[in-house]
């Protein structure tokens, strides 16, 4: 185990933490956000093209603009799902997945076509070095931006546990009817939770662009949303527990990928581990409820 793999584990764990914190929040509100992959991809794409368009701006302004654009993009996607739930009664589980699946090939075509950078990669142009987050454990991809993930998880957890909004979300998640009779308008509370969950996925996509990848690469989001969802289940829907859950999942997935590479194994180990992990969580959850 060398510095590269240690840094890679921490970096992917931190990216997962952003998205998993959002998923944990959505699960607390009683909703399943299955569109994580698409939200990360769309926000990463918007962040990348914003930064490429804002080369003449001061770094702070450009980075802030890219973050806001990414959050608005993913938040907009979630707002569509939330709106469909509020006004048409459509399940968020289905609408988030369909929207994510619909946007992914469109973004693929934009990345590979109109916004493709020079070179052989199916990716947007690399962002300016002034906008990139500094690497802190060469040669690994770990950057300073990634390390904000645990701090954000702690902050979100604090707000949820101490604030009124956390109580509203928890009550709406446990019982919609009780929340409605208590005047909490559960449908709007859960919609707000979904929008915030999408915003956290946007931050994950943003950090992937300014940190690990320095551009938006076609299909680089594959599996990140699902891994984050798995981590939120491992964390039993508690935002603070997302930190160790993501670390454990990242260790398992990264080391299995390393094993795959070094032993020339051709199959998708990460998905197999995820599938079995979710089954174990489902059984464990049932045992705990007994």
């Amino acid at each position: 185990m060398n510095l590269y793999w240690i840094g890679k584990i921490i970096d992917s764990a931190c990216i997962l933490m952003f998205a998993a914190a959002g998923d944990a929040l959505a699960l607390t509100a009683g909703e399943y956000n299955l569109g994580g992959d698409g939200q990360i991809y769309a926000s990463a794409f918007i962040a990348a093209i914003t930064l490429n368009a804002a080369k003449s701006l001061p770094p702070f302004i450009a980075l802030l603009a890219a973050l806001i654009a990414a959050v608005i993009c993913a938040g907009g996607m979630a707002l569509v799902s939330a709106g469909m739930k509020v006004y048409r009664g459509v399940d968020i589980l289905i609408s988030t997945y369909l929207l994510s699946s619909a946007l992914t090939p469109i973004i693929d075509s934009l990345v590979a076509g109109r916004f493709r950078g020079k070179g052989n990669l199916l990716a947007t142009s690399f962002i300016d070095t002034a906008f990139s987050s500094p690497r802190i454990m060469m040669p690994s991809p770990l950057t300073l931006a990634s390390l904000t993930a645990p701090l954000l998880c702690i902050a979100v957890s604090f707000v949820l546990s101490r604030g009124e909004i956390g109580k509203r979300i928890a009550i709406a998640g446990v019982s919609n009817d009780f929340a409605d009779y208590a005047g909490l308008k559960s449908i709007k509370v859960s919609s707000m939770a979904i929008v915030f969950a999408a915003a956290m996925h946007a931050v994950a996509g943003y950090v992937m662009v300014i940190g690990t990848y320095r551009s938006c690469i076609s299909g680089f989001q594959n599996g990140v949303g699902w891994s984050a969802f798995t981590a939120s289940l491992i964390a039993r829907r508690r935002v603070i527990k997302v930190i160790p859950a993501c670390l454990i999942l990242s260790i398992v997935i990264t080391l299995s990928s390393r094993y795959t590479l070094t032993h020339l194994i051709g199959f998708d180990v990460a998905s197999l581990i995820q599938g079995i992990t979710i089954a174990i969580i489902a059984v464990e959850d049932a045992r705990r409820r007994k």
Binding site: G89, P105, D108, F267, L272, A279, A282
Partner: protein
């Protein structure tokens, strides 16, 4: 007429998987695993056909193994009272990963698999599989709507208490609903593989989730129209078939659009089924009901 037949033939796989999703919805246990089972079944059909040099053996073994996997997951769910949604999700992800594993072990590749022993005439394959799927659907619909067992399958979710009061074990029919969903998903996988004369990774392309969305839409359309306000009636069945035909027509039109408008991005056409489902869901809305235990 030719266009109508093309739409009809191309809609059969989605029709089968949607019928399976409908059965799981009757049990109030969303079959999220349909996608994974379609992929797994398509691969197993290809692998066993090559191994035993028989398409019939390939299809049969693929279906049996998929059902066995679903039965195992059912056992887990029932034995530990686990969340069926999570178990189904786990099955979906594991089935897709299993395909990758078995493909690399048996064929040393995760990519497209072709073999002379698994090559069929495209026209004949489409016609034969369309006819087979249509026959299966007709028989299954009759059994579902006209037999006592079918009635119990339809009511085990919404009216499980009524069935229990009549001395009928609703849990058995809930389990059977899941098994039958898997059966239809497995048959869909075999059909897709036969039509392509190969195995293509992720051949389902979200068909499982699309089927769940179609069931939601069908319920929304049928609920105000049916005389009884619950359960599964003819209105729901025909609404389901109508939506599938509509989506298939949109798909066919989308693939033809490229011949006329050369500037249309191909990836936009890939997104078309999902966009169409979203628009339909937004227009039709969804009736409020539970979809899980």
């Amino acid at each position: 007429m030719n266009m109508c037949y093309i739409i009809f033939a191309s809609s059969m796989p989605l029709m089968l998987s949607s019928f399976g999703a409908l059965l799981s919805d009757c049990a109030l246990r969303l079959a999220i695993f349909i996608d994974g089972i379609i992929n797994l079944s398509a691969f197993l059909c290809f692998a066993f056909t090559i191994r035993f040099a028989s398409l019939a053996a390939g299809c049969l073994l693929a279906v049996i193994l998929c059902i066995a996997l679903i039965a195992f997951c059912l056992l887990l769910t029932e034995a530990f009272h686990a969340d069926p949604f999570l178990i189904a999700l786990s099955l979906n992800i594991t089935a897709s990963a299993l395909v990758s594993y078995l493909s690399s072990i048996m064929f040393s590749t995760r990519g497209v698999l072709t073999n002379k022993a698994f090559t069929f005439d495209a026209q004949n394959a489409r016609n034969a599989t369309a006819l087979a799927a249509f026959s299966i659907l007709v028989i299954a619909s009759i059994l579902l709507m006209k037999t006592r067992g079918g009635l119990y399958l339809r009511l085990c979710g919404d009216c499980g208490n009524v069935e229990e009061a009549r001395g009928i074990t609703s849990r058995r029919y809930i389990a059977l609903d899941w098994i039958y969903s898997g059966l239809f998903a497995a048959i869909t996988g075999c059909i897709l593989a036969i039509r392509l004369s190969s195995f293509v990774p992720n051949v389902s392309s979200g068909m499982g989730y699309l089927s769940c969305a179609i069931v939601y839409m069908a319920r929304s359309i049928s609920r105000p129209m049916s005389k009884s306000k619950g359960g599964t009636g003819y209105t729901l069945l025909f609404s389901l078939f109508a939506i599938v035909l509509l989506l298939s027509a949109i798909n066919i039109i989308a693939s033809r659009v490229q011949n006329v408008y050369k500037n249309v991005m191909p990836y936009f056409l890939l997104a078309m089924p999902y966009l169409a489902s979203l628009v339909l869901l937004a227009v039709i809305g969804q009736s409020r009901y539970n979809h899980g235990n």
